[in-house]
Amino acid sequence: MTKMRYAAVVLGLLAAAGCGGKKPPVAKPLPPTTTTSTPPPPTPAPPQPVPDTTPVPPEPRISEDPLVSSDLDAINKNSPFQPVFYALDSYEVDAAGQQVLTADAAILKKYPTWVITIEGHCDERGTAEYNLALGEKRALAAKTYLVSLGIPADRLRTVSYGKEFPFDPGHDEGAWKNNRRAHFVVTSK
């Protein structure tokens, strides 16, 4: 099963490299930690002094993608997803948030079997009960934006933790800013 997925990903990469034309083959979001000892691809046969285009695109290195082989725990501990931050009392995804979600959507497209849970969080300045709904609206807003980018809704779950799980335990502007977020957890892969 894992192998098949691995093969599918590799095929996907090759396909992307082959037909993408203008796009460089797959920017890897993660440090290529474990490069397997696959020998460099043999250079194609020497003749052919065709000068103009390079007929053989630089083939993607067949590397073990740690995100494919890792278990959920490891993936989430070093998550490829960036959180979306929100203004005080707001659940609107601003321009910066849209940029983040565009990058997150690319990761979701790269790993099409992943299901994620979008956690909505709030700072401590709202009331505990209301923040359960505010966090939910934040998670739903992030979900809606990802769906608009083409991610199937059934891969995106939401949950609100209100102000129960602050990422920063501080009581100042910096902590509050950090705690108003939609945070992504890979739930299954």
Binding site: N76, R125, A128, E129, L132, E136, R157, V159, F165, S188
Partner: protein, 464 residues
């Protein structure tokens, strides 16, 4: 195992009157010396004008063993606190009482000495052992006349002497001033006092479990043990069930969670999930109707936080709000005819009221405010958390005057008010001591008492 231990804990907690199954048996002690002469209740200080003065003498231990001595001290001390709590009587200070020789018998009381303290009433009592535990006798004497205004005898386990005090206080208040006291009520809340951490991929997340304690914070008992977030507990009106919001695991390793309403039948250990939640159908903040037949709650089942009502078994779900903004945190009016909740439909979160058929939606007060709680007759008030600065204060809106008054003082942030069943007290959370703790305060803002001290404690809810 869990069931058994929970049941045992409850049995121990209820102490005095062996918890037989469902309805917590109201103690029916045989009236000892007649509490009333004919049909006429002997009232303490009824003719004094103002607040009658009451003295509580140290309770007499009729044997010298440590258990009896300790029980006698506890019963007397807690009874003092219980009666003081309702402020129907002026409690003569313990220093003054210490100037009078400790009573040694219920039948031989030197009333002259108590008259010197200007006591209108004197509470005396004794504790002795018997085959089944202890026997507590108590008398309240009208000091000027020496007549017995209240006299009863209770027997049961020695495990929880405080329960005798609570029972005496409630029965005394009922008999003397027709008041439904709250000494035998409980407060449930969520707490991270166990310092357990959630399983899962994000570090440093403290679990919260549901607890309840006596109204004064004594006898904490744990209701849930699922090592996740269990919050916003709510007592059913018959005190048999605590409904709460639980974060249930989803995904193969439980790395996703979703909110759902769970009912915990605390005397049997059974649970029910009437909202049958899922990641696509999340349900939270349950609130019981006054007759216990329905539960109002918040759900995202239609893609947005809205208010719903269902029968307690999950049938007959009705959607009550329909607005793209936030609608959350319903509570019932004491008659069950109306719902108050929080909406930010105008951009600022405020409390709204509607009829239970969804009609007549209107805002209550024109300020940013949250978490309504509604008391019935004779006060007919709504308490709420108002944004008063960097944090919140508790305010009370009176339907009689159409005005609100502030009953906390801007120290820390003060949230999550809930009325006692008699409407005279409010439990709420405050950060004034650092962590979030539960306090109670009288509805005029006096008599602040801290009832939790361990960990953070949130979302209080008062039993009937």
């Amino acid at each position: 195992m869990t069931r058994l231990s929970l049941f045992l804990a409850l049995a121990a907690g209820a102490g005095v009157f062996v918890v037989q199954q469902p309805p917590q048996p109201p103690p029916q002690p045989p009236p000892q010396p007649p509490a009333s002469q004919g049909n006429q209740t002997v009232r303490i200080g009824v003719d004094v004008g103002g607040t009658p003065k009451l003295a509580v003498a140290p309770f007499i231990a009729l044997s010298n063993d440590a258990e009896t001595v300790a029980a006698a001290k506890t019963v007397g001390d807690v009874l003092f606190d219980d009666i003081a709590y309702e402020r129907e009587f002026y409690m003569i200070g313990k220093d003054a009482i210490a100037t009078i020789p400790r009573p040694t018998s219920l039948d031989d009381v030197p009333l002259d000495r108590w008259k010197e303290l200007n006591a209108d009433g004197l509470v005396i009592g004794s504790v002795r052992k018997d085959a089944n535990g202890i026997v507590v006798q108590v008398k309240v004497i009208q000091v000027p006349t020496g007549r017995v205004a209240f006299g009863k005898e209770y027997s049961g386990s020695v495990a929880n002497p405080r329960r005798y005090s609570h029972t005496i206080a409630d029965e005394f208040h009922k008999q003397q001033v027709g008041l439904n006291g709250v000494a035998r009520t409980y407060i449930t809340f969520s707490s991270d006092r166990d310092a357990d951490r959630m399983r899962g991929p994000v570090a440093n997340r403290d679990v919260q479990e549901i607890y309840f304690t006596d109204y004064d914070g004594a006898n904490p008992q744990k209701v849930t043990n699922t090592r996740t977030l269990n919050i916003t507990p709510a007592w059913s009106p018959d005190n048999q069930v605590i409904a709460y919001t639980s974060y249930r695991p989803s995904g193969p390793q439980g790395f996703g969670t979703f909110q759902d309403v769970i009912l915990s039948f605390i005397h049997t250990g059974q649970r029910a999930t009437p909202t049958s939640g899922s990641p696509q159908n999340q349900n939270y903040l349950p609130a019981w109707s006054p007759d216990g037949s329905k539960i109002a709650f918040t759900s995202n089942r239609d893609g947005n936080p809205e208010i719903y009502i269902m029968n307690r078994d999950g049938s007959g779900v009705r959607r009550m709000t329909n607005h793209p903004s936030i609608d959350v945190n319903p509570t019932w009016s004491p008659t069950g005819n109306q719902i108050a909740w929080v909406s930010e439909r105008t951009g600022t979160p405020k409390i709204y009221i509607m009829n239970v058929d969804g009609t007549g939606q209107r805002s209550l007060v024109n300020e940013e405010c949250y978490r309504p709680t509604w008391s019935g007759e004779p006060f007919n008030e709504i308490a709420y958390a108002a944004k008063t600065g960097p944090g919140f204060d508790i305010k009370i809106y009176s339907f009689a005057t159409g005005e609100s008054r502030k009953i906390t003082d801007g120290i820390g942030t003060n949230e999550s008010p809930v009325f006692s069943p008699n409407g005279r007290h409010i439990a709420f959370t405050s950060s004034r001591t650092g962590k979030v703790q539960i306090f109670t305060v009288a509805r005029d803002g006096n008599d602040l008492r801290q009832i939790t001290r361990e960990g953070n404690n949130k979302f209080p809810n008062w039993s009937r």
